[in-house]
Assembly symmetry: D2
Homo-oligomer: 361 residues x 4
Amino acid sequence: MSSQFGHAFRISTWGESHGGGVGVVIDGVPPRLPLTEADIQRDLDRRRPGQSDIVTPRDEADTARILSGVFEGRTLGTPIAINVTNQDARPEAYREMETAFRPSHADFTYQAKYGIRNWQGGGRASARETIGRVAAGAVAKKVLAELCPALEIVAYVKTIHELTAEVDPATVTLADVETNIVRCPDAAMAEKMIAFIKAIRAEGDSVGGIIECAIRGVPAGLGEPVFDKLEADLAKALMSLPATKGFEIGSGFAGARLRGSEHNDAFYMDAGRVRTATNRSGGIQGGISNGEPIFCRLAFKPTATIFQKQQTVTTTGEDTELQARGRHDPCVLPRAVPMVEAMAALVLVDHALRQRGQCGM
Amino acid sequence: MSSQFGHAFRISTWGESHGGGVGVVIDGVPPRLPLTEADIQRDLDRRRPGQSDIVTPRDEADTARILSGVFEGRTLGTPIAINVTNQDARPEAYREMETAFRPSHADFTYQAKYGIRNWQGGGRASARETIGRVAAGAVAKKVLAELCPALEIVAYVKTIHELTAEVDPATVTLADVETNIVRCPDAAMAEKMIAFIKAIRAEGDSVGGIIECAIRGVPAGLGEPVFDKLEADLAKALMSLPATKGFEIGSGFAGARLRGSEHNDAFYMDAGRVRTATNRSGGIQGGISNGEPIFCRLAFKPTATIFQKQQTVTTTGEDTELQARGRHDPCVLPRAVPMVEAMAALVLVDHALRQRGQCGM
Amino acid sequence: MSSQFGHAFRISTWGESHGGGVGVVIDGVPPRLPLTEADIQRDLDRRRPGQSDIVTPRDEADTARILSGVFEGRTLGTPIAINVTNQDARPEAYREMETAFRPSHADFTYQAKYGIRNWQGGGRASARETIGRVAAGAVAKKVLAELCPALEIVAYVKTIHELTAEVDPATVTLADVETNIVRCPDAAMAEKMIAFIKAIRAEGDSVGGIIECAIRGVPAGLGEPVFDKLEADLAKALMSLPATKGFEIGSGFAGARLRGSEHNDAFYMDAGRVRTATNRSGGIQGGISNGEPIFCRLAFKPTATIFQKQQTVTTTGEDTELQARGRHDPCVLPRAVPMVEAMAALVLVDHALRQRGQCGM
Amino acid sequence: MSSQFGHAFRISTWGESHGGGVGVVIDGVPPRLPLTEADIQRDLDRRRPGQSDIVTPRDEADTARILSGVFEGRTLGTPIAINVTNQDARPEAYREMETAFRPSHADFTYQAKYGIRNWQGGGRASARETIGRVAAGAVAKKVLAELCPALEIVAYVKTIHELTAEVDPATVTLADVETNIVRCPDAAMAEKMIAFIKAIRAEGDSVGGIIECAIRGVPAGLGEPVFDKLEADLAKALMSLPATKGFEIGSGFAGARLRGSEHNDAFYMDAGRVRTATNRSGGIQGGISNGEPIFCRLAFKPTATIFQKQQTVTTTGEDTELQARGRHDPCVLPRAVPMVEAMAALVLVDHALRQRGQCGM
């Protein structure tokens, strides 16, 4: 299936950049939970284009409509369908993509896979695809608020290019993240990042970076042995976001350079609760949460669409040059922060419901 | 499900370190393919304990028996069950784990999840669990040999601690990898790695590292848009291996520090075939293979079991000290190489069969 | 999952009787197939309310809109979302169902399961739920026309109450079925059925019956051993339709009264093709199609909603009486014919794609 | 997948009639439940060949071995693998099936599907396949005993050919069923059935019949709207058993001949509990259990293997005659009773765990 995620809390997303809209159907939602369109809109507003002057100027309100599964403000337990229409579509700006493949985009691979593609705005490979994820993630957060009330998910921009922020993942809050348009809670570094992104955009270029995600208040016991390890499902969820190139949990790649005697997290008792003195495990051991905070990092490449002339080939197999038009983010990270949160929430709610099903949490 | 992987080619593994054995049932295997126990044994021998003096001395032949799904040397299309018995089990060496949790192991989290655990040899969290993966991966390789005859998967040790090998992923072969016991195709560096692992073991300590995997000859068009992107499924597959802490594809974390104009892979025509001039994408664009080699890297932490006294807690909530006994790898990477290959093969065969189903490859 | 069906061709339906509409997302559709809204509307028109004077007068155009997955009249391979709005909703006609459970309806069981329900028009348990099935079935038929060009699915009303038609399942056509409003290809019996349904409706009562389905031109080899036998998947698909009470294939319950020597279907060669002299197997042996026509029958109970006073209980646990208002079918079978076809098509397309995936059909 | 069943409680069966044995892997079992090999053996003994003189004389002890997932007599929450070896295999008795297809067997369809088959004893299509189901069903019953302590599943032979028993499904017990070898709790009719089966066998012929299943003490709320209705999942589960031709629930096919005013089950209050005055619904409304007993019936055709000469064709496409040898049941129903119970248990445990996961039962 190209577009389904989750087992107990399963989402099915749909939609292309240009066309009838985008959306998601969510099956398996627990009944009787309060849910409104405003709950969903809050996160969609954080990912929508046009929200600041360092993101794409495409003008989309991205207004969510709940079409089913909610009655008198509460979930019914039946599928929740959420739709968002496309409003500011400009297919003509993509006309040259009809006949040439954009470098490092999905144009060529979709054509190779399906023998057909919607070249308008990237079709299904557009970042508009993530609207369904973010909407479903907002519902997941409402469910988690009930099932795991202590749980908090806070993602933020850690690095843009060579600029790396100082952030304490143990204490950073959503409010800290939302204080600036680049979504980096280190105010001084955020200013530098914003200036850098603007400069890069002025050059018609783009830039990548790293998002860090802290998940605190996770009950011990979520995650499955073997294949559906919690870190494996987080890796898949986050590496399924567009433009991602790497994933780390806990000590990550740096952990590969430590000895066991340096890396192991000693256990100790803290007011009757088992805790670890350090957290190189990143809150997960043997694929299962241990109650410590989960910390992970996600690397994003620079946006593929740049406003410079590039070598490429046509759909009929000739070498050519292409210079992009259209509206694009010079850096995807500010808008990717709510996507990271959404995917993390989808993984956690799925594991929480599976745990309740099998073990009666 | 704790122990299932794949959609079209679905494996179900089972088994604990100490008990009736370990194994796998594989469903969805195409019919009429040649398959023998020797095909499976070859890879099991590469992962088995006791194979060299830098791995655990636990003495297991790990002899695979095919119990079903094969008739007169050919697959039937019905489920293939493969069993391996546990022979050199020594539960008494784990007796103290009955009452204390090993640091950075899964003892505590299994207890937190299930309220019960098999403390003998780590139970289901033992690396013996990977026998089912490697056996299934061997079957997957046979299927791929038919479906994608040009496809080659070569994994190897790239880094042990601070020692990093020089390897050309475009040309390295399985034979190169198998020339030494650490499975690093850079002969000079391999010697240093072996000496280092022996020294670490003599100290009762352990060490981590990085495995790189090159997948060449992949047809363009494998992978799915959105959630089941090929890199997302590889990330999940590889991050589900024990002791992994990070995953990178193509440019990886370093790609986050490049500009779009530096990172994009220009397309060009090469004898009628669309190629890319560089391969920072790592062979995958928009979640779908583009026909270029897939390169990825996987970080492993140092083995959690060390022969030094460590702080921990008992199952009844008291602080205590624990010093491991038992038989353990000072470094998991040499034996993890065939596991990485197996997981990569399982991802690719699943996507190849799904592609044939939907698009008629 | 409450609302997903299929493996390779997977549909996710959503929607309640009164609310934002109903619809379906279809994932796994092969690319490049011609598909228009008219292809879908044709079958939706056959199931829509208000189509004749023996069905419910609820006035719904049930106009299908394709929101994604189709580009310039061809499928993209990405999810196809189809929406239908609810127009003639009259929640006030269901106000007494807010506080009392309708006998033999799903009001009580939804309340018992979820602790909440949308009482307007039966919510998710309304027959409007089947719009998503019929729309998806229309897409399935388009795929089958490509994959199995000889395949034909013809369902029809065989029995209404005590009135049973004479129909030859080997030759009956869709055109025969559509010659009258009860969808029974035996013209004389159809007239009696229509008169009987009108008489029953005049009494404020309802009536059940049997639909037969003939599936001809099925290639040999579809269906899976063991659990996903073709007849098992047909049984599930058809028994998931509202108001069904029984399913038979081939000889059915009558076959239980035969001896093996009377029941077995002898094989013989017919112009180079293996055929059976009789077809008590109903076209399926060992769960797999044998190339002969598949015949099955589905029993429907009388519509639960009748316009007579009935004993029931309130949501607060008191005995009470209830007399339904609202608009209802006195007999569900005429509108159920396209639902049966749709579910049969969904089963067959799923097995055809699975067969191509595993065995390379 | 040919051989997987269930979502939350998922089983993977494997094995052929002649070969390394048969078995099952069960994933998703709740932890800490008592489970022994004797729990499984009890039901395997009820399905094993050679148990009486009206079943096949093939001599198999069918001894179950639990290889994983159980520790010190309790479930671990990890996969439970159960193996049974084949002992009394006689491939030579099937030699003529290598070149000719048995009428109404799966020989031809397996060949058509896979292009290969294990002709020894029917391979995967042998009734030995059901050992995995019955073993898993025994585990399911242990889980249900914990989750739904009032739940009872009692299946029995209702009809053999024209002989139909009088049984009260509301009160019949397992002990009643086990009083005779035909598993019919009407003692007088059981004697006639046994005599009839012996007579039929003496003629080298075979006979079918009907099994009824009563499931009492089901909590209200199990089952899902739309596709995974409880009756739909029961229909699939039971119609996946070998030799089945029809399924009915509640009023069944007879319900198609009633009016709504005759068919509806009035609700009334009984000591604070919602009950129905009649039970034509068969304990399920809108796909969800209502707390009343579930009653269903399953039609079995006569065994395909008879000891009479039959017309058939060879694998190379010539008309021929075939007379079976080997060891076969003249009537499958006595041994099918525990299979029906097992499949019913697997459906119920899956829905109970799903309900707990989503709704927190």
